[in-house]
Symmetry: C2
Subunit: 538 residues, 2 copies
């Protein structure tokens, strides 16, 4: 059998001992000799497994409080010598090959996470283990390096299937895992030592890289990786139907999912170029979708849409994909949700290109937010504090003390790129809905203008006839809340709001001209609430 | 001397041999015994340095084609035993301490970069070296682990100053470097093995972490790191004056510098919330600054500004920082440039808060663009192809075949967040200048509207009186170029352009409605150029 290696002699030295008896038992059943060290040997002996003491291989005692157990000319040679080229030399030196190392390392991370003192940390830097693992991995053509308890079962099965052999494929897989394991281990040690002695350092590992069709643009190649040792909801999303996901889809799916995953009721976000142009939350999914769509029906075409609940047929029928009137069909790029009912899938699949994405929204967003720029890395906490207060700063009071709506407004502004303005409303049937937003502008007045213009259109569109439009718009604008991600630097924004009929503004406050801004509100009968918490997002 | 260790016995085994004779010579002069292996021993002997053969320490021969040289009970013990706790045991076992390891590893990277075959790669995975280094580092209380040629000189100086001793501080520093070195090494090996066997993986390391005042917002903690083994122009920028840089400053400085660093003539970029709201290139720095500022004088307040040449006094006097009229003073957050003349610095320092940044713009932007999102990593090529063609697609031809201006237009659109529209112009005195831009909109019509409105204002502002404004604006708009980062999905944008008097449009093309878009141009006497290259940027 090409590339097969009979496992005759195994060195086992494990810190994590679960599963080891089962593996050793299986190896024994194929006549394998097991060499082992201190604690591992004890466990194996107690489990009734006959073990060769490592000292009889090394020719040296276990020494120095366990710092020296396996490290020796004999053991290293037994792992490292080339079974072809070096066979005669090994015979002369009386080196008997070891065909497998089963080793996991001192639990350095456990002590690090526990904040152990430096001496305990250092004692838990494994020296022998990585040497055995790295040596076995280097000689993968002849030796198996087993470092992961979760691989035991596959190994047992393969031994069973072959009568005690492991294939080259298996050994290559184990070798790669082995070097990744020692790389992770030293990454941990290096960062911990840096930190203990006053320097912060970070090491990140990513794997399962897949090439994307292209990057942000067709002339840019792109790849997508999953972070090692982290939850990967984005990487692990499932494409149930449709064209391959693009780089931009991937970014927008994350953005849309992040917006809706925090919502308790049925939420819908419609994202275009990383900004939500539609956003709604309420008791009914179809209605939430309709209202989100109404927030910017032009931009919604070709958008990425996320729902936070299982999607039902009634909801997606809004897309009118099978309408006889082609212009009535609403084309979107992506629909992402935690799940889809069967009939929903069936309906959506009528459109060849639409991507249907199953996305696990129960997973948190990880510890930090990372931004890589030109050989440097910026790390920050996620922006997950919505407000530190609600402080009424004006003479006028809001039309309604609708705390849910105030929070929704600031939430929407937080989701939009800075400078961000969001105008939100509670609809007459109780949904929280984005009427319009202004995004990504170099000055706030632009964003305010964009949000107002968009909102006026959204609200006007709700009127079927011409009669009463003005009154309807006026009433709705008066019920709406304008939220700003950061303070207003000048009162000019307030004048624009007043002209548009806005009656309530919510913003962090904190400008040196707050007084003038508040005065402008008072002059215009506008209620203003300070939240104390800015939400720049770029 | 507390924490000092006399270096009596040193193990030297280096792949990179530069500087080693000098270090060994210095060690010898303090009576140190030098133990060495194969190639290193030869170099030292040839250099006239007396060397103990490693075999007399290990008690074993060099074996298996060099795979076994240092790995042995004796050498590992000599590095690892605790000089306090284990002293008696070491005496019993006849282990003589080794106080320093000088070791750098097989040049795995060299062979990897050269695309060597797998057997050569594997032969160049160092096993003994990392073991010696890691063991010495673990025992840093007594042993020095020297892994970097660039540390030799400091070590020689310290030995000279102390008569052959190294301090605890030095050994701690070496220990941290050692674990970072082995972490880097195994990161390289792990990724190379993954790649050779069909999986892409990435490992990144960052150090020199410093805490920033806060992140994008005050309630978010933030840190700033330099990437290991990369050029770090952003991290290494020097704050010559002013308040500490914020997270947002840092991001914008990079953005602004990236915009101007590619320009040949004097360039100025004014960035606000990551978008350039002002941009100009030409023969005179002061004039370029003025024109960039005129692109959006409201947004320019509190902005981040970058120049690509040494900044001179005349340029910054435009800020009027010492004007008697306080309202005439132009406050900006940051000015970044490769350098500043002395009198410029003096002038700028009059303003306490202005940050003056020396930024090395000669450094490239690194291999890839990385985006980290929620446990996954997107990697793509930088967007560094401006256009694949210039194709005239309309009946009308541009007023002038100004290729430089066409490229400048597309360059400006590429710098702006999508959907991006940039209106640019060659001024009558020959400068390439951004008149106005539309950024970050969910639909292109919004961006077009923003860019046009801004440009009309920029141009109107140039007229001192009322006479002839309309004609002037009309003439200037006719000379301007409107550039779009991606195709126009509908002809509606063209109608807007026509209304505003735009005569030339440059865009990638590629919409299914290109024909209608071109027809709209022809109807309006507008010239249109297709570039074939999209520039989404989010």
């Amino acid at each position: 059998m090409e590339g097969q290696v009979k496992i005759k002699r195994v060195l086992i030295s494990v810190s994590e001992k679960s599963g080891i008896l089962r593996l050793a038992g299986a190896l024994k059943s194929y006549g394998c000799e097991i060499v082992s060290t201190g604690g591992t040997r004890k466990v194996l002996l107690e489990g009734g497994i006959d073990v060769t003491d490592i000292a009889s291989v090394t020719g040296s005692p276990e020494a120095f409080g366990g710092r020296m157990k396996t490290l020796s000319f004999n053991v290293c040679s037994a792992l490292l010598f080339d079974r072809g080229r070096d066979a005669a030399e090994a015979r002369d030196l009386k080196i008997e090959p070891i065909d497998m190392v089963v080793c996991n390392l001192y639990p350095f991370k456990k002590f690090m996470d526990a904040g152990s003192d430096i001496d305990i940390l250092v004692e838990n830097i494994d020296i022998g283990g990585p040497t055995m693992i790295r040596a076995a991995a280097k000689n993968y053509k002849y030796v198996a390096a087993v470092t992961d308890v979760s691989d035991y079962e596959d190994i047992i099965n393969e031994l069973r299937g072959t009568g005690g052999y492991l294939s080259l494929d298996t050994r290559v897989g184990l070798m790669r895992k082995a070097y990744n394991h020692t790389a992770d281990y030293d990454a941990l040690v290096a960062c911990a030592m840096d930190e203990r002695f006053g320097e912060r350092s970070v090491r990140l590992g990513f794997s399962r890289g897949k090439m994307l069709r292209y990057g942000e643009n067709p002339h840019q190649r792109a790849w997508f990786f999953a972070e090692n040792g982290a939850e990967n909801p984005l990487y692990d999303m499932r494409v149930l139907h449709g064209k391959e996901l693009s780089y931009n889809n991937t970014v927008d799916i994350n953005g849309a999912a992040e917006v809706v995953r925090g919502m308790k009721k049925s939420g819908c976000a419609i994202v275009k170029h990383t900004n939500p142009c539609g956003l709604c939350e309420g008791d009914d999914q179809r209605r939430a979708f309709e209202l989100a769509w109404a927030g910017d029906p032009v931009s919604a075409f070709g958008s990425v849409i996320a729902f936070n609940k299982k999607v039902d047929l009634k909801t997606v029928e809004f897309l009118a994909l099978d309408s006889a009137d082609r212009t009535a069909r609403k084309f979107v790029e992506v629909i992402a949700a935690p799940s889809f009912s069967e009939d929903t899938l069936e309906y959506l699949k009528k459109h060849r290109d639409i991507r249907i994405i199953e996305y696990d929204m129960s997973v948190g967003s990880g510890k930090y937010d990372l931004k890589y720029i030109r050989g440097s890395l910026l790390i920050q906490d996620h922006d997950d504090e919505l407000r530190s207060k609600f402080e009424m700063v004006t003479v006028a009071r809001p039309v309604r003390e609708d705390m849910e709506l105030f929070e929704f407004g600031m939430y929407a502004a937080r989701c939009v790129k800075s400078n961000a303005i969001a105008i939100v409303r509670r609809t007459d049937d109780g949904f929280l809905s984005l009427c319009g937003m202004g995004a990504g502008q170099p000055n706030r007045l632009n964003s305010t203008g964009l949000a107002i213009a968009r909102s006026l259109e959204t609200i006007s569109n709700e009127c079927s006839g011409d009669t009463g439009v003005d009154i309807y718009v006026k009433n709705q604008m008066a019920k709406a809340i304008l939220a700003s991600d950061a303070f207003f630097p000048f009162p000019d924004n307030i004048d624009e709001c007043a002209k548009a009929g806005i009656k309530t503004i919510i913003q962090p406050g904190g400008s040196i001209r707050d007084r003038q801004v508040i005065e402008a509100c008072d002059r215009n009968g506008i209620a203003m609430i300070f939240t104390g918490t800015r939400h720049f997002k770029h």
